[in-house]
C-alpha cells in the first residue's frame, strides 16, 4: 500500500464536512424552501389522497359489509340499529377453493407472460442498445408504436389473427390434419390469452431492459474476454448479472398488470380462462356482490404489493453492490 492507503481518508473526511456546512447555510432559507416544496407537492398529493387512498379505504370498509338484497351494499346500520360489519366475505374466499384456484391460475399466466416477455425482450433490448445512435431512436419508437392505437382495438385484432378462418388457424390445423390429429381452436383459449398478454406487455419489458443494457461498459466485456471468458461466459458472468435491475423492473411492470388483467381473457379466452380480474369484474357488474368483489380486489392488491416489495428489495440488494 505504501503511502497511498491514507489517501482516501482525507477525501472522505472532506466529503463529510461539506454537506454539514451546506446544511448550516440552508438553515436560514429553510422555511421558504419548504413552503415552495409544499406548494409544488400538494396538488398531486391531494389528487392521490382523493382518488386513490380514499377509494381504497372505502373498498376496505366495503369488504366488511354485507351485500345488498338487490346488489351493491346493505345499509351499514341494520333494522335493529346494530352496526353490520362482518368477515363473511373473507371466510368465503378462504373456504371455497375455487377462488384460490383462480388466483393460482392468474399467477401462472402472469408468470408465463413475464418469462416469455423476458425471453423475447432481452435479445431485442440488446440489439437496440448495441445499434448505432442513428437507428436507436427509430427502433425505440417502433417498440412503443403499438401504444398509438387503442388497447381494445389491438385485442380485437388478435381475434381476427387467431380466428378459425384466418391463415394461421388454417396452417396449424392443416398441419395437424396431415398427422391425423383433430383441429384445435386457436381463439377462445388459454393460448390466445397468453399470446395477447405477451404482446401487450412486451414494451414494458423492453424499455427498462434497454435503459439498463444501454449503460453497460464495453470495457467490462473486453476485460472478461481478455481474462479468458468466451461469449457464453461473458454473457452469464458479466452482462446478465449487471442487467438484473432492469430484469426486475421489467418483470414487475409486466407481472403485476398481467395478474389483474380482465379485458384479454374476456375477449380472447374460453370459459376455462377466467382470471382474477374477470372474477372481480363479475362480482361488481354481474353478481353485484360488492363486499366479495372488494375482498378479491384487496387480496390482489396485497399480493401485488408484496411482489413489488420483494422485487424492490432484491433489486436494491443487487444495486447496493454496484453503486
Amino acid at each position: 500500500m505504501g503511502s497511498s492507503a491514507p489517501h482516501p481518508e482525507p477525501l472522505a473526511a472532506r466529503g463529510e464536512r461539506e454537506p454539514s456546512t451546506r446544511e448550516a447555510g440552508e438553515g436560514r432559507r429553510k422555511p421558504r424552501a419548504s413552503l415552495g416544496k409544499w406548494l409544488v407537492g400538494a396538488p398531486p398529493l391531494l389528487y392521490l389522497l382523493v382518488f386513490f387512498a380514499a377509494p381504497t379505504l372505502i373498498m376496505v370498509l366495503a369488504s366488511f359489509r354485507s351485500p345488498g338484497e338487490f346488489g351493491g351494499l346493505a345499509p351499514i346500520v341494520d333494522e335493529t340499529g346494530k352496526l353490520d360489519l362482518n368477515v363473511d366475505s373473507y371466510v368465503r374466499f378462504v373456504t371455497e377453493p375455487v377462488f384460490a384456484r383462480v388466483f393460482v391460475k392468474s399467477a401462472w399466466y402472469a408468470t408465463l407472460t413475464t418469462l416469455f416477455c423476458l425471453l423475447l425482450a432481452y435479445p431485442l433490448a440488446t440489439l437496440i442498445a448495441k445499434s448505432s445512435r442513428k437507428y436507436r431512436d427509430l427502433l425505440l419508437l417502433l417498440v412503443i408504436l403499438p401504444f398509438w392505437s387503442n388497447f381494445l382495438i389491438r385485442i380485437y385484432a388478435w381475434m381476427i389473427i387467431l380466428g378459425p378462418n384466418a391463415a394461421l388457424a388454417k396452417l396449424v390445423n392443416g398441419t395437424l390434419a396431415l398427422f391425423g390429429a383433430a383441429p384445435v381452436p386457436l381463439l377462445f383459449s388459454g393460448f390466445a390469452v397468453l399470446v395477447c398478454l405477451v404482446y401487450v406487455s412486451l414494451p414494458f419489458m423492453v424499455l427498462p431492459l434497454y435503459a439498463n443494457l444501454e449503460k453497460h461498459d464495453q470495457a467490462l466485456l473486453d476485460a472478461a474476454q481478455d481474462l479468458g471468458a468466451n461469449a457464453w461466459q461473458r454473457f452469464w458472468r458479466v452482462t446478465f448479472p449487471l442487467s438484473l435491475p432492469g430484469v426486475y423492473a421489467g418483470a414487475a411492470l409486466v407481472f403485476i398488470p398481467a395478474l389483474g388483467i380482465f379485458a384479454i381473457p374476456d375477449i380472447l379466452g374460453g370459459p376455462e380462462d377466467t382470471l382474477i380480474g374477470n372474477l372481480i369484474k363479475q362480482q361488481f357488474l354481474e353478481t353485484r356482490d360488492w363486499p366479495f368483489g372488494s375482498v378479491l380486489s384487496i387480496v390482489l392488491t396485497v399480493a401485488a404489493l408484496m411482489l413489488a416489495g420483494i422485487a424492490a428489495w432484491v433489486g436494491r440488494r443487487g444495486a447496493g453492490r454496484r453503486a
Binding site: D217, L220, D222, A223, D226, L227, G228, R321, A323
Partner: protein, 361 residues
C-alpha cells in the same frame, strides 16, 4: 528468439493509417514502453497484441507462434485497462478469481493463488470489498492482481496510471518497477507521459503518426533524440534549425534562423548546405549577467522575458536580440537566493559546443 515479435504491422481505419508498418521485438522479462501523443497508434498496437483488433498487414508472433487466429480469450497475455474495468458486481476476491475460473483452475488451488496475487499488489485483507468501496489506486492494484493471477506470458498496460493524481502516480510507478522485477513477466506499457516512460522502462519506442520514431533505452532517448519529434516530445527542448554552413569532422557550424551561427558537436558527418536541428536541453544552458570571458562557447545576449518559479528550479525564457526565445533552467539550490533574475534583466546565454545534440534532417 524474442518473446514478442511484431513484424511490419499495419492497421488502417478508412483513410487513416493508425499503425504504419511497425516492427519491434520485446524480450522476456523486459519492461517495454510505447510512448507517444494521443492518436499516435500506441493503443491500437496494444489492442492488436491483446487480440481486440487485427492487423491489416504484418504478423504478431508470441514465442514464435503467429497470434492471427487466436481470439483474445485464448492469448496468454493479459491487459490492465485504463478504466480498471473491474466487475462491479464481484468482490475483490471475485474479480481476481474470475480468470482462474475461466482457466478451470481447481477451486482448492484458487484460494492460494488469489492470496498470492493480492499479496503481490499489497492488498491482503481486501478480499470482501467491492470495487465501489476502493480508491483509484486500490482499484488499479486489483486490476493488476487480476491480470497477473494466471501467470500470463506478458502483461499489457494501457495508461494504467493516467486516472490517478500525481503523488499516487509516483508511488505506484515505483511499485510497478518492483512488481515487474518480482514476477519477471514482460510488461508492455502504453503511455503518453514521458516522465512515466523514462522512469519505468528498460526500452522505449517513441511513436508518432503510426510509426516508431526511435526505439532505445530511456537515457538514449532523452540524451540523443534521433528526430526533431523525439527531441520535442521528450522533456523540454530548445530546437534551433538552419542550414549547415560548414562541417569538419566532429564540429558543425549552423546558421540558426533568427539566432545566428551556432557551433555544435556532431557524431554524424554532416554535409555543408543541408539543414539540421540542434536540440538543446534547458538545463544545459548557462545564463549569467555578464558574458564569460575567453571561451569557445556559443553565447548570445538577450533579456529575460518570462520566468516560472517551480520551487526546485526556475525556468527562464530569454528573448535573444535576433528574436528567438531560448529556454534555460536554473536549479534554485545553487544560489542561496530564491531567484537569480527578474523579468526584463539583460542576460548572457551560453552553452558549450558539446551541450547540444545535432539532428540532420
Amino acid at each position: 528468439m524474442a518473446l514478442l515479435d511484431i513484424q511490419g504491422v499495419t492497421r488502417r481505419f478508412g483513410d487513416f493509417t493508425a499503425v504504419d508498418n511497425v516492427s519491434l521485438a520485446v524480450e522476456a522479462g523486459e519492461f517495454f514502453t510505447l510512448l507517444g501523443p494521443s492518436g499516435c497508434g500506441k493503443t491500437t498496437l496494444l489492442r492488436m497484441i491483446a487480440g481486440f483488433d487485427l492487423p491489416d498487414a504484418g504478423r504478431i508472433l508470441l514465442n514464435g507462434e503467429d497470434l492471427a487466429d487466436s481470439p483474445p480469450e485464448l492469448r496468454p497475455v493479459r491487459t490492465v485497462f485504463q478504466s480498471y474495468a473491474l466487475f462491479p458486481h464481484m468482490s475483490v476476491e471475485g474479480n481476481v478469481a474470475f480468470p482462474l475460473q475461466m482457466a478451470r483452475v481447481p477451486s482448492g488451488e484458487r484460494k492460494a493463488r488469489i492470496e498470492a496475487a493480492l499479496e503481490d499488489v499489497r492488498l491482503q485483507g481486501f478480499n470482501r470489498r467491492y470495487p465501489h468501496e476502493l480508491s483509484g489506486g486500490q482499484k488499479q492494484r486489483v486490476a493488476i492482481a487480476r491480470a497477473l493471477v494466471t501467470h500470463p506470458t506478458m502483461l499489457l498496460l494501457d495508461e494504467p496510471l493516467a486516472a490517478l493524481d500525481a503523488k499516487l502516480r509516483e508511488d505506484l510507478s515505483i511499485e510497478l518497477i518492483n512488481l515487474q522485477k518480482e514476477v519477471g513477466i514482460a510488461f508492455v506499457y502504453v503511455t503518453h507521459d514521458q516522465t512515466e516512460a523514462l522512469a519505468l522502462s528498460h526500452r522505449i519506442a517513441v511513436m508518432n503518426r503510426g510509426r516508431i520514431e526511435q526505439l532505445d533505452e530511456p537515457s538514449k532517448i532523452y540524451g540523443f533524440p534521433r528526430t526533431r519529434f523525439v527531441a520535442d516530445f521528450i522533456g523540454h527542448c530548445n530546437l534551433f534549425s538552419g542550414p549547415i554552413r560548414e562541417a569538419n569532422g566532429s564540429l558543425a557550424l549552423v546558421d540558426v534562423d533568427g539566432l545566428g551561427p551556432v557551433r555544435v558537436a556532431t557524431a554524424t558527418s554532416a554535409a555543408g548546405g543541408a539543414r539540421g536541428t540542434i536540440a538543446l536541453r534547458p538545463e544545459k544552458i548557462r545564463i549569467a549577467a555578464e558574458a564569460p570571458s575567453g571561451t569557445p562557447d556559443n553565447h548570445f545576449h538577450g533579456a529575460v522575458r518570462d520566468l516560472l518559479y517551480m520551487g526546485d528550479v526556475t525556468v527562464y525564457r530569454v528573448a535573444i536580440e535576433g528574436g528567438t526565445i531560448v529556454e534555460a533552467l536554473l536549479a534554485n539550490s545553487q544560489s542561496g537566493r530564491a531567484k537569480f533574475f527578474e523579468v526584463g534583466d539583460a542576460v548572457d546565454v551560453s552553452w558549450p559546443v558539446g551541450a547540444g545534440h545535432f539532428i540532420v534532417e
